[in-house]
Structures are given as structure tokens and as C-alpha cells.
């Protein structure tokens, strides 16, 4: 408690001045199962990225050539700081490129 600021230091009327500051709160601890994307299976359809409620899937401008030789300009990566492990991404992936695995902490 004593680490928190006193009332004189707080902005008036509980206004929050920093947009998107919830990023400071990591929701990783909510996760029981953890999604893992198989970059070689992934066909870059964007569906997992679209349906993540957090959002905890990022779209990176990172070229990648799959083992079967397909070249992609982007990659989808899970942000494990925020992924809550809901499993929507794995469920919706049309090519089953996402596996939900046991979280080992």
C-alpha cells in the first residue's frame, strides 16, 4: 500500500491520462493451456489474429520460408504476456497449425 501515491499526487477525478496503459498488467497468469503456432503449417490466413480477444497475437512483418518452400511476408506470433489461453485461435485455425499445450511454469 505505502508504495502507491497519496491523494495529492493523483490526477483529479480519477482521470487516466495514459492511453492503453493496461499493457502494464500481464494476463499470462490466467493461462492454463498455451497456444503454440507451427510456422510451417500456418498459411497466414489471419483468422487467429482476428479472433484473439485480448489481442495477444501479433502480426509481424517478418519474412518466413516454410519447410515446404512457401515464402511468406508476415508471421503471426503469440504474445505470451497477454495470452489468456482461451483456445479460440487453435479452434479457428483452418489448418490446425496451433496446438494447445500444457503450460509449464
Amino acid at each position: 500500500m505505502s508504495a502507491l501515491p497519496g491523494w495529492r499526487e493523483l490526477p483529479r477525478g480519477a482521470v487516466i491520462l495514459e492511453p492503453g496503459s493496461s499493457v502494464r498488467y500481464k494476463t499470462a497468469s490466467w493461462r492454463v493451456l498455451k497456444p503454440v503456432i507451427d510456422q510451417d503449417k500456418c498459411v497466414r490466413c489471419r483468422i487467429c489474429w482476428t479472433y484473439c480477444p485480448e489481442p495477444a497475437i501479433v502480426e509481424l512483418d517478418q519474412p518466413y520460408t516454410s519447410r515446404s518452400g512457401k515464402a511468406y511476408k508476415v508471421m503471426y506470433a503469440i504474445d505470451y504476456d497477454y495470452c489468456k489461453g482461451c483456445g479460440i485461435c487453435a479452434e479457428e485455425c483452418p489448418v490446425k497449425a496451433i496446438a494447445m499445450v500444457e503450460e509449464v511454469r
Binding site: M1, L4, P5, G6, W7, R8, L10, P11, R12, G13, A14, V15, I16, L17, P19
Partner: protein
């Protein structure tokens, strides 16, 4: 100086709102406030006031809309009475805790049931715990002037708290008086628009009305208490400056003959006028009566009040509202008693509740009150058997 016009209290308020060039008005009709809204609609309709006028569907929405508008940086106004004020009650707390400089007029009226459209202070008093700065104007001129002062006070960066100006329903709201109307230029010079707070702006996104857990909530309530307590200085400064510019003096409390008074009557609103007439007569016949008019009700001017009670031998507090079942009955009484107790004033302070639901408060009532209080002179507070009585009610 402005132009003197015969105006009712309601119109006087509307002229003040026009003078300060408000940006957004949202209000809902209710007797006895209605004429304010009508007049403002007329001003907007004629192009005399460049404002958005919201025909809201309730008082709850009226205050909610001005909360939104104020959060977006606009100068806003609303007005209401009685049931309307109660409908706003939820949002009144939110407005003050969110530190929005809203100004509201309250044409005071009794609260249902039974439904009654006439004057008392039940509505005003019901709002007294909402964290707003509250004044009670004695007449139309004062209502006009205090509305203008309210904007200067509310928008002062040291304050940033909403302000309500009460004025007695019908007695003030509907009675024509010559009013010296302040012109826009003068009003805006005295109360320039100041937006020294974060507003809803896509270029600087802020979040307002957040959820505060037990780790945080308390601090914001203390902030508000501190701000309203410290607004006293800004308020007197604003009133002094008002006098300097416009010549009319308003103090937190008005004292009449308190220097040598045995009994001081404390009152608020139009009762003060009746009391003063009686007191001046009574003085001629040797009764040493004094009078204290409470103009600023929140923050309660306790230091000033006690200053004028110090020499009294008994105090009669007149209330036009009842807090049924409380230890104090009259709400004004509770503030006076607590203020006196803090200074250890051990004199009888008694409460007289009168004029509920528009029952006329006449000279004979004041006479009865004065005589009754006189009979307590020489006693101590604990020797008083009955701390309150109803005056003007049929047994």
C-alpha cells in the same frame, strides 16, 4: 453597467446564463423552474445565445448530457427543482467526483409525497451531500449575479467543482423585480471560459469515469473534500471581485444586528426577508434580535457563522426541510449546531421547521420563534428540553 429590467428569478437566471455564453444547455421542465428553460430556448431560437439546446427526456439525462458536454470541454448549464433534482441525484455525485465545472439552478420546491409544487428546501437539502458548491440566493438579482459568479468559481483551476445556485420557488422564481442585467462582455471578462483540465479529445485520449478499487477510491473522495474545503478562498475572492466590478456585495453569510443581539435567528432563502422585517420592528420595541442569512451552504461557512453567534445567548435556526428520524431534524440546524459545538458555544440552539410545501412563512411565525428562543436565554444547551418544533402547522 448593464440594463435594469423587470425580471422574475427564473428569467434573471436565464439572462445570466446567456451573459456567460454557455455552449450547451440541457434541461427538463418542472415547476417552478420551467421558465428558465423556456427563456433559454427563446434566446437560442432568436440567435441571442449560440448554444446547443438539448430537449432531453428526463432530468437524469439532462445532468448526464451536461456531464458529457463538460467532459468534452464545453461551458454548460442545467436547472431543475424537486423531483427533477432527485432524479439527478445519482449523477450529481458523479459530476463532483469527476470534478466537472457544471453550473445548475435550483428553483427550490417540496419533494413528493404528497406531490406539491410549492417552495421549501427539501430538494436543495437533499442535494447537500453531493459534493457540489451550493449557494442560496435571496432574490432575482442575487440569482442572476450568483449564476455568473458560479462559472468563475467552478472553472477556477484550483476548484473544478460543480456549483448549484438555489432560489426559492415562486417567491423568487416567479416574482418580478428590477434586475440589473450584466452584459455578455462584462460577464465574460469577470468569468472567462477556462478549460484547464483534460477533456475528451481524440488527439489526447484520456479515460474518464474509471473503476477505482479499494486501493484507490478513498484517495479520490479525499481529493474532493480537500478541493471543496479549499474552495472557500476562491469563493470569497470571486465575490470580492464581483463587488469590485459590479458594485453588489455578496458574502458567505449576511449578519444583521448580531453585535448586541440576545437571540440570533439563522435562516436561508426568502425567509430571511420576512425575518428581517420583523426583527427591525421588534428592535424598536426593545427586543434585541439579530439575524444571520446563510448564502453559501456548501462548503458550510462555519467560521463566519460562529463569529456572528458568539455573543448571542440563544440561537433560533429556521429550516424549510426535515430530515425525518435524524438526531437534528432540520438540515441547516445540524450544520449550525456542529459549527457551534466545535467552538464550544454552550448556548441553547433550537430548530424551528416551517414553511413546508409552500406554507407561507409570515411575521407572526417569526415572532413566535423569536419569543420562544428568548425564553431560553440564560440556559445551557443541555437544559433545553425540546430541540425542534414545527411552526405554522395545524395540531
Amino acid at each position: 453597467m448593464g440594463k435594469v429590467m423587470p425580471l422574475s428569478g427564473n428569467y434573471a437566471v436565464a439572462y445570466a446564463v446567456k451573459a456567460v455564453d454557455v455552449d450547451v444547455v440541457a434541461a427538463y421542465p418542472i415547476t417552478p423552474q420551467t421558465a428558465v428553460v423556456e427563456k433559454l430556448a427563446e434566446f437560442v431560437a432568436n440567435g441571442e445565445l449560440d448554444a446547443e439546446f438539448l430537449h432531453v427526456e428526463s432530468e437524469h439525462s439532462a445532468l448526464s448530457a451536461v456531464v458529457g458536454a463538460s467532459a468534452a470541454g464545453a461551458r454548460v448549464f442545467t436547472a431543475t427543482s424537486a423531483q427533477g433534482l432527485l432524479l439527478m441525484y445519482e449523477i450529481m455525485h458523479i459530476a463532483s467526483s469527476s470534478r466537472l465545472p457544471i453550473v445548475m439552478g435550483i428553483a427550490t420546491r417540496a419533494i413528493s409525497a404528497p406531490i406539491n409544487i410549492w417552495c421549501d428546501h427539501s430538494d436543495f437539502m437533499a442535494a447537500s451531500d453531493t459534493g457540489w458548491i451550493m449557494f442560496m440566493a435571496l432574490n432575482a438579482q442575487e440569482a442572476h449575479d450568483l449564476i455568473i459568479a458560479a462559472y468563475r468559481i467552478a472553472e477556477d483551476p484550483r476548484v473544478s467543482i460543480p456549483v448549484a445556485i438555489g432560489y426559492d420557488g415562486f417567491v423568487v422564481s416567479h416574482t418580478l423585480e428590477p434586475v440589473d442585467v450584466i452584459e455578455k462582455e462584462e460577464a465574460l471578462e469577470y468569468a472567462p471560459k477556462r478549460v484547464s483540465r483534460p477533456t475528451l479529445d481524440p488527439d489526447r485520449p484520456v479515460t474518464m469515469g474509471s473503476l477505482a478499487s479499494p486501493d484507490w477510491y478513498f484517495e479520490f473522495r479525499v481529493q474532493l473534500q480537500d478541493a471543496i474545503e479549499n474552495s472557500r478562498e476562491t469563493i470569497s475572492e470571486a465575490l470580492r471581485e464581483f463587488k469590485r466590478r459590479f458594485g453588489r456585495e455578496y458574502r458567505e453569510v449576511d449578519d444583521f444586528y448580531t453585535d448586541d443581539a440576545d437571540v440570533v435567528i439563522v435562516s436561508m432563502g426568502s425567509t430571511t426577508g420576512t425575518a428581517l422585517v420583523f426583527i427591525e420592528e421588534a428592535r424598536r420595541s426593545g427586543m434585541k434580535l439579530g439575524l444571520l442569512n446563510i448564502r453559501l451552504f456548501r462548503p458550510f461557512p462555519e467560521v463566519e457563522v460562529v463569529k456572528y453567534l458568539e455573543n448571542a445567548k440563544a440561537v433560533a435556526v429556521i429550516d424549510r426541510a426535515v430530515n425525518a428520524g435524524s438526531s437534528f431534524v432540520g438540515p441547516l440546524y445540524s450544520d449550525v449546531v456542529v459549527s457551534a459545538f466545535k467552538k464550544s458555544l454552550d448556548i441553547p440552539i433550537v430548530n424551528y421547521v416551517t414553511g413546508l410545501g409552500g406554507r407561507a412563512v409570515v411575521k407572526s411565525h417569526i415572532e413566535f420563534i423569536a419569543k420562544h428562543a428568548y425564553s431560553l436565554v440564560g440556559k445551557k444547551m443541555r437544559e433545553v428540553k425540546k430541540h425542534y418544533s414545527f411552526i405554522g402547522v395545524r395540531e
